[in-house]
Amino acid sequence: MSAAGDPAPPAAPAPAVLRAERVTKEFGGLVAVEDVSVDLPEHSIVSLIGPNGAGKTTLFNMLTGLYRPTQGRIVLGDRDITRSRPDVITGYGVARTFQNIRLFGAMTAVENVMIGHHSRMRAGLFGSIFRPSWVRREERETQERARDLLAYVGLPSTVFDRLAAQLSYGDQRRVELARALAAEPSVLLLDEPTAGMNPRESAALTAFMRKLRDEKKLTILLIEHDMKVVMGVSERVTVLDHGKKIAEGEPTEVRTDPQVIEAYLGKQA
């Protein structure tokens, strides 16, 4: 549980729930992520920033089991999940969204969210065929929960049973968030949730993330380009550039770090 052996950041208030320990990912000769460590203290919001191609999404994919790190370890609570399958990791309580929304287009919004709850359901082949009363109850409760979650993220109830592919972009983002929440995660990974939003929408989402953390008892890791969102919402910021971690700390520290300004913020100024 503790950050023993790690060059622990001095200001970490709570034990890390999810931790990447010196992970490296190589694709052939290309090193996408090199020797990066990230700590997610419990009940915090941490942002991962960096220019395009810095390895943020690759790190996400390692944390959720889609990629196996070439080197290093990923620890969830006191469990080593470096070699675990993505569906198993979801079962342990890590859920995510995708940069390019990946909904199941031919399923309705409700069905999409029900899929998110898959790892919490028990009905197997014979349960599905014979449908005993506990399976019927499970199915009904999952559907009710899905509708509640869709309402929670603000989807208009008129489109609950519409196919995901028919929803507007903003509604698709909402459904994707509800789908991740349906997995009842303790850690939520959001990959550029404000992509394509105007400042007002981004501000609303920022507030909503805080609300999520407090109401759903979540720990959130965020990939974000919008500096206003990053500075406004996160307790800690990790900066990646060319696969390497170049800075880490509180938003105010990171903002003034000369290396960060040069690699990332400086480009925008």
Binding site: I129, Q166, R179
Partner: protein, 405 residues
């Protein structure tokens, strides 16, 4: 135009919603009752009964393949392998083929005096389903990391391997001078189904055969319907739609795909066992590659992923193949002074029908709700999205203060 169609669709949905709750059940009950009394309207040994029995058995296979191809989206071109394994299950456990053995379980008094393995047909049916389910997993394993066309190639090869093993099995000893299969000679004198109190089935009275395969069809249909609207059915569709998103949402890829393969294979095996006893022999020549395509054509013509489509597709092609062409229209060319019979050009007829179908109704006879919308509405939605793509034009997400449950 699309507004008008949309209104029509809404009207229809509203009309369906106004039907009483028991409507579906009543409709199903009526259809089943009709299915049960159907043979009383036809002579018990007529060509129509024969065609019906085969068509119903085809529908069982079509429903099985629909789980693999339609639900889970795994293109399986070797489905004939499960027909073969099911038929051989019957040949092995319901005939005198293993002549050194003497095993008899719940069979007719005549069969219980014979050498060989003779099990009751119901036991063979369960055994065939189990063997094929295991074989389905076996073929599923090497395809797990593959997609689309590559799955098709591996399953095609599997179908061919089983076919070659069936042909050459007569030189594969299994001990005591017995062989694995009888190759192109065929395992003949297989047991007819026997039920205590009813007796053995006879080919002079086809009605019991019909009721038997109808019972199997209803069972398969029931399982299909239950699986479609279940946790497992949803997981299959999710994997078909987007594998990466599905596993990230907690769906175990290997287990879910293998279940699709094995459930689909089990149904193929049951139909295969039935064909084994109905055709009274198990011959390696029956298991040609073309049959896999034939079953796939049923699924596609019916409407990929649609249960009622697979049923109708199986029945339609079954009737055309086994009743319409050989019994009804066979002499048609001679009436026009042409010197050939229609059975000689049946593949040409099927090819023609497929082309016509793909041109006029590519979504199938009874398209699945999802696919129907995919083909029409989704395209419209994507067009609409393209128009609103620029950032900032997107509808407001999570406005402040909103979102509380």
């Amino acid at each position: 135009m699309s507004g008008f169609l949309g209104r029509l669709r809404e009207r229809r949905a509203a009309a369906v919603a106004r039907l009483p709750r028991w409507w579906n059940r009543a409709l199903a009950g009526t259809l089943i009752a009709f299915g049960i009394v159907l043979p009383f309207f036809f002579p018990a040994d007529s060509g129509f009964m024969n065609g019906t029995i085969i068509a119903v058995a085809y529908a069982v296979m079509s429903l099985g393949l629909n789980i693999v191809v339609g639900f889970a989206g795994l293109l399986d071109l070797g489905y004939v392998a499960f027909y073969a394994l099911g038929a051989y299950s019957l040949g092995w456990f319901g005939s005198g083929f293993f002549f050194k053995l003497h095993v008899h379980v719940l069979v007719s008094p005549v069969a219980s005096t014979l050498q060989g393995v003779h099990l009751n047909f119901v036991l063979i049916l369960i055994g065939a389903a189990a063997i094929c389910a295991a074989a389905g997993m076996l073929i599923g394993l090497p395809t797990l990391r593959l997609r689309g066309d590559y799955i098709a190639i591996v399953t095609l090869a599997f179908g061919e391997i089983i076919g070659v093993v069936a042909v050459n099995g007569q030189s594969v000893p299994v001990g005591g001078g017995m062989t694995l299969t009888a190759g192109n000679l065929g395992i003949s004198a297989v047991d007819a189904p026997y039920f205590p109190g009813i007796g053995s089935f006879s080919l002079l009275n086809l009605r019991p055969w019909y009721w038997l395969i109808l019972a199997i069809l209803l069972l398969v249909l029931f399982v299909n319907l239950r699986l479609r609207d279940s946790r497992l059915g949803r997981a299959w569709v999710a994997l078909r739609e987007d594998e990466v998103a599905a596993v990230s949402m907690g769906i175990p890829l290997v287990k879910t795909k293998l279940l699709a393969y094995s459930v689909g294979a089990a149904f193929g095996g049951m139909a295969g066992a039935f064909f084994g006893t109905y055709y009274t022999e198990v011959n390696a020549g029956q298991f040609a590659f073309g049959f896999s395509i034939f079953i796939l054509a049923m699924v596609i013509i019916g409407g990929l992923g649609s249960i009622w489509g697979a049923l109708v597709g199986g029945l339609t092609l079954g009737y055309i193949n086994n009743y319409l062409i050989p019994d009804v229209l066979n002499d048609l060319p001679s009436k026009f002074g042409l010197h050939f019979q229609l059975t000689q050009v049946e593949f040409g007829i099927f090819g023609f029908l497929l082309v016509i179908m793909m041109l006029l109704r590519p979504q199938g006879l009874i398209p699945e709700r999802r696919r129907r919308l995919e083909l029409t509405a989704q395209i419209a939605a994507e067009d609409a999205q393209l128009a609103e793509a620029p950032a900032g034009e997107v509808t407001v997400i999570l406005p402040p203060g909103e979102g509380a449950a």
